[in-house]
Amino acid sequence: MNTRLRMLATGGFLLASVAGLAGAQGTTDGADLTGAGATFPYPIYSKWFADYAAKTGVKINYQSIGSGGGIRQLSEQTVDFGASDAPMSDDEMSKAKGGQVLHFPTVLGAVVLTYNVPEIMRPLRLTGEAVADIFLGQITKWNDAKIAALNPGVKLPASDIIVAHRSDGSGTSYIFTDFLTVVSPAWASGPGKGKDVKWPVGLGGKGNEGVTGIVKQTPGAIGYVELAYAKQNKLPYAQVRNAAGQFVAPTIESVTAAAAGAAKALPPTTDFRVSIVNAPGKEAYPISSFTWILVYANQSDATKGKKLVDFLRWAFNSGEAAASSLDYAPLPASMVSMLDKRLTQVKLGTVGMAK
């Protein structure tokens, strides 16, 4: 009898704790769709979700856990859609449990070079090669001939260049190293592109704020941050020479121009996993990139699938207008019809049709 009582008590305790755990997991509080991924577009996404919920009543829960986490959760099918600042690799695509994944560009981001050289009065001008050489540790002084040649009439100090980069894995680093890989063979054969790379020189700061902290505190420092962050914090930033040979300041217009230039060259069958760094076009800012929402091509739950497609269509056609108010560059108008067409490829309610 003692044993039975004891078992009963233990069993009850276990049941209670399991119930407690189960209760704690139901945190989606009745959202219609759940997504997870990139932190960079989180402000615009949450505005879209709020506006869309007010208009249609469809609630979307989004966790900004980072691009890598978004891809992992989508692959494990624990969320209805993912979001990433870097396109999925073929390897990642093949591991997704729900079959083929479609990439939908939503807005654009850009990476700007910010610096702390009080002697420089007007915006610094840099080329991709010069930026790569600085981050490779080959240009070490501000008055290096290569920088001086790009900035005639600017009195450059003889001080050391201190490089600041992101220490945490991030889409910002991916876009920046993608650009350096395209413009510099030395970078391509050296560190390469990725969310984390092996930086040849410099100090690592965590997040945009960490890099900004180092740059602001250290005279002679140069670092890279997101355009939106640089604008909101009024950081000085460099003009970068684009593929057409023009020095372009990063602005919402010049970033959208980069996408428009790249979109012209897209084949009709594109899967939108495209890099737009060093894009053609006179006004294009060269260190630009899409950020993507990732959706399974086969939506086993037809109701959810339809809600997702409807939301994306609304975002492309009505949501984009809100982007620039939050310092994101909207997609060029020429791309919206391409994406609308792409949305029709999402198949609804084909259970078990994976792969």
Partner: protein
């Protein structure tokens, strides 16, 4: 006796939600007490074994996740300095080195300070000063580490770069030693060690204060009776008596320093390099995991980070075991 039994029974009734035995009935009381004792002893055993089991599961889970990386790189994982996520090659030597050096540096700075504070508070301070100062020092332990990080980044690092580092290197000519040579960027092993020292100081001083307070009056009186000065009393009678407790406090501080993540990440410069100079940037294991875990690309990268976690666990475990041994040794010597 019966009273105790009844109370136990009532307690057991609550704990196990078994039917509470009727109070006046003697036989029920006895049965209840028997059940109560057993439930009590079993739950105590359960709770006590929960902690080791938890530790073991953490070790096993991290070890299993770390296995692919450890198998791929073998011993070079802890000896190589090449951490390259693009080439998928991982060596954690700089992070291991950074964790140990920053923690040791923190202890070297914090221990004399903490002992000074504790001795002052327990032996010299007038009563009206004792409480406020003790409270303030303890409060250092309550400051969130991200606050230390922000303060370090915007206040400590600029002061270090413009004043402290040039002073140490040029004015004191310590620059002839490799330890204090090179360019002073600001974010560095030195900055990380200093912030860690501030963070583990309250732990060491709080424990030391308590241990000193626990030294019997007779110990002091005996030394005084032999004609010892106040300083001699503390040096020869009080501190030796409290030695094992003080070492325990230092090890508690070391544990804090080894695992600290946020503040260090913001100040150490996050560079995969073993540099001779304390002014150069470095890396720690905890920072490495915090930085790269959320955006790790590929299974091997993730596994390498788990392997770093495994090494960190192992290092912490070894340091604690060594501390235990040291405490035990000093306690036995006395």
């Amino acid at each position: 006796m019966t009273e105790f039994a009844a109370r136990d029974a009532a307690r057991a009734g609550v704990a196990a939600s078994a039917p509470t035995p009727a109070r006046p009935s003697r036989s029920w009381t006895e049965i209840g007490s028997e059940i109560g004792d057993r439930v009590y002893s079993w739950s105590i055993v359960g709770f006590a074994s929960l902690v080791p089991i938890l530790l073991l599961t953490i070790f096993v889970a991290v070890g299993v996740a770390a296995w692919p990386a450890l198998r791929t790189f073998g011993f070079s994982f802890v000896t190589s300095s090449d951490w390259d996520p693009v080439a998928q090659h991982f060596g954690a030597a700089p992070a291991i080195y950074g964790t140990l050096v920053s923690s040791i540096l923190a202890l070297i700075i914090a221990t004399p300070l903490a002992l000074g504070v504790a001795v002052f508070l327990s032996e010299f301070a007038p009563p009206w000063l004792r409480q406020p100062v003790a409270f303030t020092v303890d409060l250092l332990a309550a400051v969130p580490s991200v606050i230390y990080g922000v303060w370090g980044m915007y206040v400590l690092v600029p002061v270090l770069r413009t004043h402290v580092m040039p002073f140490l290197r040029d004015t004191l000519h310590l620059g002839v030693l490799p330890l204090f040579s090179g360019v002073a960027y600001g974010p560095s092993m030195f900055a990380a060690g200093l912030i860690l020292a501030i963070m583990c100081l309250p732990y060491i001083s709080a424990v030391t204060r308590e241990v000193l307070a626990a030294v019997p009056r007779s110990q002091r009186e005996a030394a005084l009776a032999l004609g010892a000065t106040r300083w001699e009393v503390i040096r020869d009678a009080v501190i030796p008596y409290a030695r094992s407790g003080i070492i325990g406090g230092i090890m508690l501080g070391l544990g804090r320093a080894l695992g600290e993540t946020m503040a260090v990440t913001m100040l150490i410069g996050n560079r995969h390099e073993i540099a001779a100079s304390l002014f150069a940037p470095g890396y720690t294991m905890a920072s490495l995991i915090a930085n790269e875990f959320s955006e790790a690309t590929g299974d091997l990268h993730l596994s390498a980070l788990m392997a770093v976690g495994f090494v960190l666990l192992l290092v912490t475990f070894l340091v604690n075991a060594a501390a235990r041994w040291l405490v035990w040794q000093t306690a036995r010597e006395r």
